[in-house]
Amino acid sequence: MHIADGLLPAQVCLGGYGITGLLLHQSLRRIDRRPNPKAEVPKASLLTAAFFVASSLYIPLPPTSVHLVLNGLVGVILADYAFPAILIGLLFQALVFGHGGLTTLGINGVIMGVPALLASGIFRYRPAGVAREPIAGSQPRPFTLGLFAFCAGAVGVGLSALFFFGIVLATLPLDMATHTERRILYGLLLAHGPLMVLEGIFTLLVVLFLHRVKPSLLPPPARRVAPAAPLQETP
């Protein structure tokens, strides 16, 4: 789902850089508002490297095998750092494997990064008390946590596919009627349905694993329940 150099007109590439620049600026502003913005840079960087490595996993999806995109999971775990992390991942993919390119880094950033931000938002707005350790006495509910993780993972890859095919079909002069292009787009998206389910299930499984083993890796929900009063010891 990476657009290669030369395929798109320069105006689209520059537009992609413009949108990416704005989103990056917003992400960096949110990071700068933190008490010590540099403290989390090593964590975000190593997790970016880990995601890059993990995305090389191939999963059999009969009759073929697919590799995971993981942009939804990146959004879920890295939150504010997700967009810079996606851009860095795309840069390395262009340098190492030749997927994507330098002129299309901006538009590829939009294709992969915007869905990651949306996935991050979906996961952040899960009901309070279902992530991390039990908060204020409410027990964690893995089902709700898993449901939000599934949605985040599936939306991540589904929206990326929609952006990718939409941009390619809109910019290449294929001389097709609008309804034909729309049909092709729907067909391609339908073909990505199993991928969305797979990516959603994988994100769900990883999030539940982290919830069990290392809950501090999951970002807290946006709305937390008020902490309960400490229990008074009876004499």
Binding site: L24, V41, A44, L46, T48, A49, I77, F92, L172, K214
Partner: protein
């Protein structure tokens, strides 16, 4: 981190720039000027829409590549994989796009407009890829990032690029060791790793194992990052830093290179605009 190819993991994750220490005019060019000049040229090439500009565009990128003294084998190696993908995409264009018929075989019709567009796209792709290789292959990666930092790349982004680059190989090696260990214990996807007596695991169970593997990698990298941050803190990492100019001041020949490249950019942009009009 520049790791020698012999230490690179087996599956080809290779970011090292082994030709970065040659002594060509492109290698000697000031990295900040090189980034500005070549990126401008790359975007000027991305603007090209007229087929008549494709031969000069390819000749210019070939000249830059020749001046860089990078081996042709490297160019071929980098072109091969994305070229296959690009070939698949542009192969369709001459058959579906356009109205002027060039040739017809039964229901297959070759259109002139589609053919022209496919040739322009291939020309742009090869030229941009060649220039990208010149840009990144003639300086060590760290030098390129430092030059980008001096050009105003935000410090958080520059630090993240360098740290990701530094730990990419380590995590890749760790991940493959973990995968191998999983395989030896009878888990994983590849049946060649499974002992003969291993029962065939259901698909869901295997997916769960892979998710656990990815989760473990994330946890390990997270824990490693704590140690990395402490070590970086001891070296004064959290102190505020202003962007510094690149350590080597550009000489007049560096500026001449930039001026020449920008002149080519201008000629291309104006010519393409005139031809399209």
């Amino acid at each position: 981190m520049t790791r020698s190819p012999c230490h690179s993991p087996s599956h080809g994750l290779d970011l090292a720039t082994p030709h970065a220490h040659l002594n060509s005019p492109l290698h000697r060019w000031d990295p900040s000027h090189k980034i500005l000049g070549i990126l401008a040229l790359i975007f000027a090439f991305a603007l090209v829409q007229d087929l008549r500009l494709v031969p000069p565009m390819m000749a210019i990128s070939a000249t830059y590549y020749g001046l860089s003294q990078l081996p042709l084998s490297l160019w071929w190696q980098r072109l091969r994989y994305p070229g296959l993908f690009m070939g698949g995409v542009v192969f369709l264009l001459p058959w579906v796009s356009g109205s002027t018929v060039v040739a017809q075989w039964g229901s297959l019709t070759l259109y002139q407009e589609g053919l022209t567009l496919a040739l322009v796209i291939v020309g742009r792709f090869i030229s941009i890829l060649t220039l990208g290789l010149v840009l990144l292959g003639t300086s060590p990666f760290l030098t390129t990032v430092k030059a980008l930092r001096s050009l105003g790349l935000p410090s958080i982004l520059a630090d993240m690029i360098l740290l990701t680059y530094r730990y990419l190989y380590d995590l890749d090696a760790m991940f493959h060791t973990m995968q191998q260990a999983m395989g030896l214990r009878g888990y994983g996807w590849r049946s060649s790793h499974l002992p003969q007596e291993s029962p065939i695991q259901p698909w869901g169970q295997r997916l769960q194992q892979l998710a656990n593997l990815a989760g473990t990698l994330l946890i390990r990298s997270y824990e490693q990052s704590d140690r990395v941050y402490q070590a970086m803190g001891l070296r004064g990492y959290s102190l505020p830093q202003a962007p510094r100019p690149f350590p080597i001041p550009p000489t007049p020949s560096h500026s001449l290179g930039l001026i020449l490249t920008l002149a080519i950019v201008l000629i291309f942009v104006i010519t393409d605009w005139i031809l399209v009009q």
